[in-house]
């Protein structure tokens, strides 16, 4: 055993042990999930699947070659998407996997800047390896031209190289700055696209963008490790490194991210909200408990609202029937979520009311109000659920009947045509 000569040797030491620990975990999870027989069958299925996929893709060669010419004509769009994507990702991910291990090493006699450079170098190498392998595989399995696939992979790699440092720097900034920057970038991308449409010269615009990004990198690289929120960086990266999907599924344990100091959190924990409130007033307690509960469940709330909106937008653009169906489905989803919130809330918070120092009588009144209030509301929601469920069934049936009649009508018309001719 010899001493570490430099930051590179200690970096490799930690990486080697990380790889070993992860491999061990994967082996354990794999051993629990698959035995030899299943593994052999799975391998055979994968092999056959590969041949079937190859055959299928060769059969639809015309369409795939059409896709190739479409992408070739729209390389600028691809580059602009690759330009905007890391900027949006910078809201949640730093882009360089500098974890708590690297931070710890920087507390030993090793340079933090060098360790950061190794992290970014590793990211670029990994991206290159993954895309070269993927491109080779795609070129082998599909009728796409090898040059085209490699060119596309090259563009993706180049953009990844050019956007790594800007994403890292942007991650460190305040939410509002990120918002303004990403808006500016999206507007800039749109302007470039419009200009290329009217003035032409896609390749020229791509060149300008590459030069602009190279210049930005040179400027940002000098101060890459200054004014960095290291705790936020390592917290996020540790989660990315150790949150392994397969292991989580097999162990049925999900690693949850630490409570983020995001804008929603800040909104609810602002100075006004942190001020003392009159906790002897049951109504205020009731409101505060609800607010906290909704904050706890913010992901579910956002997901529900998002799903309902997507549903309405997607179905609304089709036709009136589907839009009506979408509205009924949206109400159904909303009602289901709201009623489950009420029940859970009641179950979780009822005991807490007594621990808040509220007078016993008031607590009982509050509990009764909550219980009956939520019961009545949830009963009303249950009724509404049945109504919307019934509405869904009716709407669906009408749609099916309508389609059926339309088909019968067109078929009978078609038969008449045949008869006449």
């Amino acid at each position: 055993m010899t001493g570490f000569e430099n930051a590179w040797s200690v970096y490799r030491y930690v990486k080697r042990h990380r790889f070993r620990k992860k491999s061990k975990l994967y082996k354990l999870a794999f051993g629990v999930s698959f035995d030899v027989t299943i593994s052999i069958y799975l391998g055979a299925f994968l092999l056959f699947g590969f041949f079937i996929l190859h055959e299928t893709l060769q059969e639809s060669a015309d369409r795939i070659l059409q896709l190739q010419s479409f992408v070739t004509a729209n390389y600028l769009n691809l580059v602009l998407v690759l330009f905007v994507r890391p900027v949006i990702t910078s809201f949640t991910r730093p882009g360089v996997l500098f974890s708590s291990a690297e931070l710890k090493l920087s507390m030993l006699p090793f340079s933090k800047q060098q360790l950061w450079q190794y992290c970014i170098g590793e990211r670029l190498l990994k991206t290159t390896a993954v895309w070269v392998f993927l491109a080779g595989f795609i070129a082998f399995i599909t009728p796409l031209a090898f040059d085209f696939v490699m060119m596309t992979a090259g563009l993706i790699i180049l953009m990844d190289v050019l956007m790594a440092v800007p994403q890292w720097r942007l991650f460190q900034r305040h939410f509002l700055i990120k918002l303004m920057t990403s808006t500016a970038i999206v507007v800039m991308a749109a302007i470039v696209r419009l200009l290329s449409m009217y003035v032409g010269g896609s390749a020229w615009w791509m060149g300008v963008l590459f030069v602009f990004l190279a210049g930005t990198n040179i400027l940002l690289l000098k101060r890459a490790t200054e004014s960095v929120n290291w705790s936020k960086v390592v917290q996020t990266n540790d989660l990315i490194i150790w949150n392994m999907w397969f292991i989580n599924k097999m162990s049925q344990m999900e690693i949850k991210p630490p409570s983020k100091q995001g804008w929603i959190q800040q909104l609810f924990t602002s100075r006004v909200n942190r001020k003392r409130f009159d906790y002897s007033n049951p109504v205020r307690i009731y409101r505060r408990l609800w607010k906290n509960y909704l904050l706890e469940q913010k992901e579910a709330v956002i997901r529900t609202i998002g799903s309902v909106l997507i549903l309405l937008v997607l179905l609304g653009t089709r036709n009136d029937w589907l839009f009506g169906f979408g509205i009924a489905l949206a109400i159904f989803l909303f009602v289901q979520m709201a009623s489950s919130f009420f029940f859970r809330w009641l179950r979780q918070q009822a005991g807490l009311l007594f621990a808040l120092g509220v007078e016993a009588v008031e607590a009982w009144i509050l509990l009764l109000v909550c219980t009956y209030g939520t019961t009545y509301i949830s009963s009303a929601y249950t009724v509404l659920t049945y109504v919307t469920g019934a509405a869904l069934v009716v709407t669906g049936s009408i749609m099916v009947l309508y389609r059926f009649n339309k088909t019968i009508f067109s078929l009978s018309n078609g038969n008449q045509d045949v008869g006449f001719s």
Binding site: M1, T2, G3, F4, V10, Y13, V14, H17, R18, K21, S100, A101, K104, S106, M107, L108, P109, F110, S111, K112, E226, S227, W230, D238, W242
Partner: protein
Amino acid sequence: MIWLQGLLVEEVSVEINREPILQNMSFYLDPGTITALIGHNGAGKSTIMKTLIGLQERKMGKIVLNGVSQEEDFLPFKQMLSYIPEEPFLLPELTAMQHFQLYGRSYQIDEQELVEKVDYLSRKMEITDKLDEFPESLSKGMRQKVQTICALLPEVPLLLIDEPFMGLDIYASEFLAEAVKEKAEQGTIILLTSHQLDRVQQLADHFIMLQHGKVVDHGDINSFQVLKRRFSE
């Protein structure tokens, strides 16, 4: 230029989110002394520790250890200090034993010496049966013990200890106090922070009192009664 042996902190200022945390902080510590940083929560004790190891950027000022400037020779400077943080901070990739190897190799400790030291310290800290465990399977106290052993392994001129007895059981605390005294006798500068004033009085030779990021008093630990009165104010 002849440099004095010891740690010189001169006019060091630190800002976090544009808020001054340390303001023109200056002090000098002789080799072989144990100095306690005393102050209320938020006085800047942990910040000066983090600034010394380079985790916290400083706005201005100079830090020199045995003639080696932190600004100009950052890596040789870091090679001369060891740090026990308030919260155990271990790598999830490494077992307890691998942590000791990491420290040993980072501070260029001879292999045989490292084996002997690890054996001695792990027996004293009662963690011999936990050497192959990863941090997530250790209790907080055990993690703190691993962290403490790591910091005690290298023979360095400066040992920084943030809340040394936090999370340690009575035997481990006693051993740490002994080890710290022994290190000081060998010429190591010990800088520690603690809220346990009685322990500080037993262990330290000097104190530095901080308030709002400034040194408000310093002196011999024997003036403890005065210190205690001020601290309670």
